[in-house]
């Protein structure tokens, strides 16, 4: 089964449970990756959702996930109902020593926030990293300066992404794209792109119900008329409707850019994943080249 807990590079594997090593859980592997980058050798991180061929919106919990959560002292989860099962697992095994970072609450977002894919917003991960550093330092004050140093290097490692966003905006701001799901919408708007897809279509696909024929027709026409310069295809949430949209893009020679719910593995960390997405969008808009798989 592909969705068993996966240890991440950067964590201190092999000394699970050793003194001074904090057990942590990231509900999605991109959050687990950031925890590992801050925690370094003093944290062992388990990612719950890391399979790029599974739709996290319909994820089902197994006992190994429940066990990982019950043993964790630090949990990072997205919130906004995206990983509702985490809240259920946490209340099933209450622990006073466990700290939970709910990114929705960390960012002060209301429950009515429509798009739950918060990690695509460039400002999210720096805030998450700071919260992780704060919690780890509280748990293990003797390593506080170590965690602070790792946070500083995490922040400086974001500079290439920030630069890539600025460069992209300067070149392509105002260009129109389509999507099959709102997964990368925060990044698209940070890049200055306009997502012309009817929101209902994106939300229906995300929520697993059928988009209306009217919205499907609208999107198909946008693509066939070349009203959009690229299609951001969520390779992780698919249906016969999204596949039909994808083949429409192929026949109309509209470049496709694969976007993901969770961080593609192996070979990526959060920063390099975002840069790869920006590069794929750049290639789509400047050279009309599709990136159907991020590798």
């Amino acid at each position: 089964m592909a969705v068993v807990a996966v240890g991440l590079s950067g964590c201190n594997s092999g000394t699970t449970g050793a003194a001074g090593v904090i057990q942590a859980v990231g509900a999605e592997n991109q959050y687990a990756n950031v925890v590992a980058q801050i925690g370094g050798r003093y944290v062992h991180v388990t990612a719950i959702m890391s399979n790029p061929s599974v739709d996290p919106h319909t994820f089902e919990v197994s006992t190994s996930v429940a066990q990982a959560v019950s043993q964790a002292r630090l949990v990072v989860q997205n919130g906004l109902g995206y990983d509702q099962f985490m809240t259920q697992l946490e209340s099933a095994s209450p622990s006073s020593s466990r700290r939970v970072i709910d990114v929705q609450h960390l960012l002060g977002l209301s429950d009515t926030t429509a798009n739950p894919h918060l990690w695509y917003k460039p400002s999210t991960m720096p805030t998450v990293a700071a919260a992780v550093e704060r919690d780890l330092a509280t748990m293990e004050p003797s390593h506080a300066s170590y965690f602070a140093g790792r946070l500083a290097s995490f922040r400086s490692s974001l500079a290439p992404e920030t630069a890539a966003i600025h460069a992209f905006r300067a070149r392509f701001a105002g260009r129109v794209v389509a999507t099959t799901e709102p997964v990368a919408d925060y990044l698209l708007s940070a890049l200055g792109l306009v997502d012309a897809t009817p929101w209902r279509f994106q939300a229906d696909v995300m929520n697993g119900i059928d988009p209306s024929p009217e919205d499907v027709a609208t999107l198909q026409t946008m693509i066939s008329d070349h009203h959009v310069a690229a299609l951001c295809y969520n390779a992780q949430v698919t249906s016969s409707v999204t596949q039909a949209v994808r083949s429409q893009a192929q026949t109309s020679h509209v470049p496709i850019v694969a976007v993901y719910e969770t961080m593609p593995e192996p070979g990526y960390n959060y920063q390099s994943w975002m840069i790869a997405e920006i590069r794929a969008l750049t290639r789509a808009l400047s050279e009309h080249v599709s990136t159907t798989v991020l590798r």
Binding site: V54, F59, R200, D210, S212, P213, E214, S240
Partner: protein, 296 residues
């Protein structure tokens, strides 16, 4: 007519596929459904929808087309029910109930596993309640073939089937092989149920199977006219359901459309209510041909 047919209706490929596939499926369901109602096998028909649910969920998990899963699951279920004694009237409900429970358990397993291992979304909605607007035009040949096979089979076994429905003893005396006829009918029933599952979902396919025939049998005087009327009512319910679902996009400012399955079932229930009113008006004396023993 623009108030009835909202913009884009005539040009929309999704709608056209839904109407053609839905129409074929409705006719097939109605023909098989007449015999299902007359034989008092509605519960067996419902059990087959549950087996089709398991088949559809399995197809989703295996990544093959849902139609193959619905029909394949239904046919396997029909075989299982025959093997454990659905033919004997006494044990019929029990055999049906056991298969039904097992099938739903399998459906739960398959839906769980597909949620955990696949990127495909909306499996539960598609399998249980149908997604006619997501049916690909490439499904049309399969649907036509299956429908043709079921209709030809029904034409061939109609007479022995009718006779055995009316009187088991008389049919046996005429040399009709009751079990063979019963099994052939169950397989045709399974295919019909599997086909209607792609229109209004596996769980709701009973509605399309039983509803229009039940309405037709309330007002028709002969089996032939009942079959024709049931087919008409089934097609009407499906087409009006598709139309209302399409139109529902324009009913609210937010353009939140409503599902086809809901509207199809609403029309089916309305048809049945209307048929009941007509029946009471006419105070028709039930004929033995239309109403077999035990059917009220």
């Amino acid at each position: 007519m623009t108030w009835l047919f909202e913009p884009g209706w005539w040009a929309n490929g999704t709608v056209r596929t839904a109407l053609v596939v839905g129409g074929i499926v409705a006719v097939t369901s109605a023909v098989v459904g007449i015999f299902t109602v007359m034989r008092g096998q509605s519960f067996a028909g419902h059990a087959l929808t549950d087996v089709a649910t398991a088949g559809g969920a399995g197809a989703f998990l295996a990544g093959v087309g849902p139609l193959l899963g619905f029909v394949g699951g239904g046919v396997l279920g029909a075989g299982a029910m025959d093997a454990i004694g659905v033919q004997r009237v006494k044990g019929r409900d029990i055999a049906t109930g056991v298969v039904l429970g097992a099938a739903m358990g399998l459906a739960a397993l398959f839906l769980f596993l597909s949620a955990r291992t696949s990127s495909a979304t909306g499996a539960t909605q598609l399998v249980l309640f149908g997604s006619i607007f997501t049916v690909s035009p490439s499904t049309l040949p399969e649907v036509s073939w299956l429908s043709g096979a079921v209709l030809v089979t029904m034409a061939l076994v109609a007479r022995p089937l009718l006779l055995s429905s009316l009187s088991v003893e008389l049919a046996a005396a005429r040399g009709i092989r009751l079990r063979a006829v019963g099994l052939i009918f169950m397989v045709a029933l399974a295919v019909a149920v599997g086909m209607s599952a792609i229109v209004i979902g596996a769980i709701l396919s009973t509605a399309l199977l039983i509803g229009p025939p039940a309405s037709a049998l309330r007002v028709a005087r002969r089996v032939g006219s009942a079959v024709a009327l049931a087919a008409g009512l089934g097609v009407l319910a499906t087409w009006v359901g598709v139309l209302l679902a399409y139109d529902s996009y324009y009913w609210s400012a937010s353009h939140r459309s409503l599902p086809v399955s809901f509207f199809v079932v609403v029309v089916i229930v309305a048809e049945y209510a209307l048929a009941s009113v007509l029946r009471r008006r006419t105070r028709r004396v039930p004929t033995a041909v239309v109403e077999p023993e035990g059917w009220t």
